[in-house]
Subunit: 350 residues, 2 copies
Amino acid sequence: MSNRSKTIVDIAEELKLSVSTVSRALNDHPNISVKTKDRVKKMARKLGYRPNALAAGLRSNKSRTIGLVVPKISMFFPATISTIIQNKLHEVGYNLIICQSNDSYEQEVALVNALYSARVEGLAVSTTLYTTDFSHFDIFKQQNIPLVFFDRVPKDYNVKVIRGNDYMGGFEATEHLIDKGCKDIVFIGGPLTCSLYTERLSGYKAALQKHKIAFKKSRVFFHELTRENALQTCEKVFGQEPHPDGVFATNDTTAITILQYCREAGIKVPEQVKIVGYSNDPRTEIITPSITSVDQYPSTMAERIVAALMELIQAKHPAAYRHSQEIIPIQLVERDSSSSEQKKTRSTKK
Amino acid sequence: MSNRSKTIVDIAEELKLSVSTVSRALNDHPNISVKTKDRVKKMARKLGYRPNALAAGLRSNKSRTIGLVVPKISMFFPATISTIIQNKLHEVGYNLIICQSNDSYEQEVALVNALYSARVEGLAVSTTLYTTDFSHFDIFKQQNIPLVFFDRVPKDYNVKVIRGNDYMGGFEATEHLIDKGCKDIVFIGGPLTCSLYTERLSGYKAALQKHKIAFKKSRVFFHELTRENALQTCEKVFGQEPHPDGVFATNDTTAITILQYCREAGIKVPEQVKIVGYSNDPRTEIITPSITSVDQYPSTMAERIVAALMELIQAKHPAAYRHSQEIIPIQLVERDSSSSEQKKTRSTKK
DNA sequence: GTAAACTTTGCAAACGTTTGCATAAAAATT
DNA sequence: AATTTTTATGCAAACGTTTGCAAAGTTTAC
């Protein structure tokens, strides 16, 4: 019993055709007659033929595969982006290899190398918090393989970038708090090695300045935006008077943690302190009081990423496209955590 | 300027060695002297050599890649599973291709074929809600490629299965409601084509029976467990008297929706109706009142999946392992939505 | 000093495709 | 009827590795 899996050679022999004809027939090459195509396809089905993508990729240098590297696929924003990218790519016949760096630089390097080794035709990346050396991507630039950075993007690396308007996000979030009456606003950001947080910080500063509020170094904090770190910062911030009257947390996990801390500590939100988060994680809508957050339109971003990759893959003179920046607008979603109205019966969103 | 990327042939020429020696040197084959290995590796670095996984995979029939198919990577449970699988596989030098079927049977078939075409060395699958024909997996069985189903698993397809104890989950959730005083418990499940829901339903029925509560057909509902469908069911259930005093929702999105509906409609949870969800989605802990849910230990499951794949890959006589079932225990996590105590000051979990 | 054993390297085929070029056959043009 | 054009097919090399086998070189054993 021949357990060996069938190849186009088997089809060719069975039909007394050459392998080249079979190959072309299966790929719907225009030079092959309809009759032959039918015969070949029928025989392929009969023999249970399965194409070997490795062989095809090796020979043609086209793997029909895209690589995606994100910090963590279980976080809301990257998860949403990944979902949509995958679906869009599937529509155009590309496979996606999703990888997560776990915010480890070493893992990112390893993954990028592995993806190159797999000869992906394009790469989309949101870097770790600590990636400042981008030389592991050089090979992609050298070989002219489409390379798109999104969300967390390099600061000084000439490449295609698609990112949210983090400056505006920071600005609007802060100004919103000011509009609602805050005068003493804490900023909690991730490490400044990461593009996102420098931008959001700039926006924060600009809003303060516009409204003639002094920037105080003691009111800004930087650390990985985990629950544990957020709690520590809460201890510092609320451990001594005067309490701030507003907190701008640059991710939603942090915003949620602060809200819970305040609830526990008997600090009323939004009456005593108002909170704004970032990313519009579904949890912000569910918690009580619901949390104002900055929506980054992940689906728009994902669509743009796929579009950019496809453009670059099809481009004849690719170099031209490579160094542009696309900025996706953001939108502040106002909820109860920053409300200035009298508290009224809470209403769930329809 | 030679832009062509370097191969082991280039290294061999440079060093006046044969390609076979170079290949073996790079793979740390024991027959190669340490001295040669060093020379080869140094030269590889110098030339900027990058291995071609397609070529290696083609020749050796070992792609060092695993495929994963889940319904949707942005949902809590599959996202968590994917994250851990990816990390575990990375540790042992395997790549992972994550795919989502979007609960479409056609897409599942297409993805499975693509993964076979990519010659993955193993496949882990959680099926769509509607997969009842599993013939697209036959090729993996025929070719003896490790195949592991998890969570949503086939009912009549002889294969390795790792799943949560959904029967017990259904039983404990229901019994818990009964213990808390419920006598009229609504069950909301997904389509019965999916293994999960038949099991959970059996558990529900068993708990009713044990406590001598009659099973009423009018109190069970089946539909895709989306927010929209949950709202419709709410209309039916709460649109007429008598209201049930308990609801067992077999996923957390549904549980959350019901809670919000009740809040809106002025039905007090848990006083008038108690709610239990399924999966222990982080949102259940955050919402007020927090929702009792069944934890499925996704990390344990993910670890078992990877372990099973690795065992199967290394197995000499693979057939033996193939048809076993592993059942991961579940745990009911009690929260406020099913509490029978007097309402007291709400306390956030530490 | 010769045989046996071991270590290290090389030869060449193989993996399953794709593709440039040549060619045969058929159709269209003169 | 001869020539050109078009259509359909085949030949053979190539993609970059891995690997069974042979062989050369070195060490060990008697």
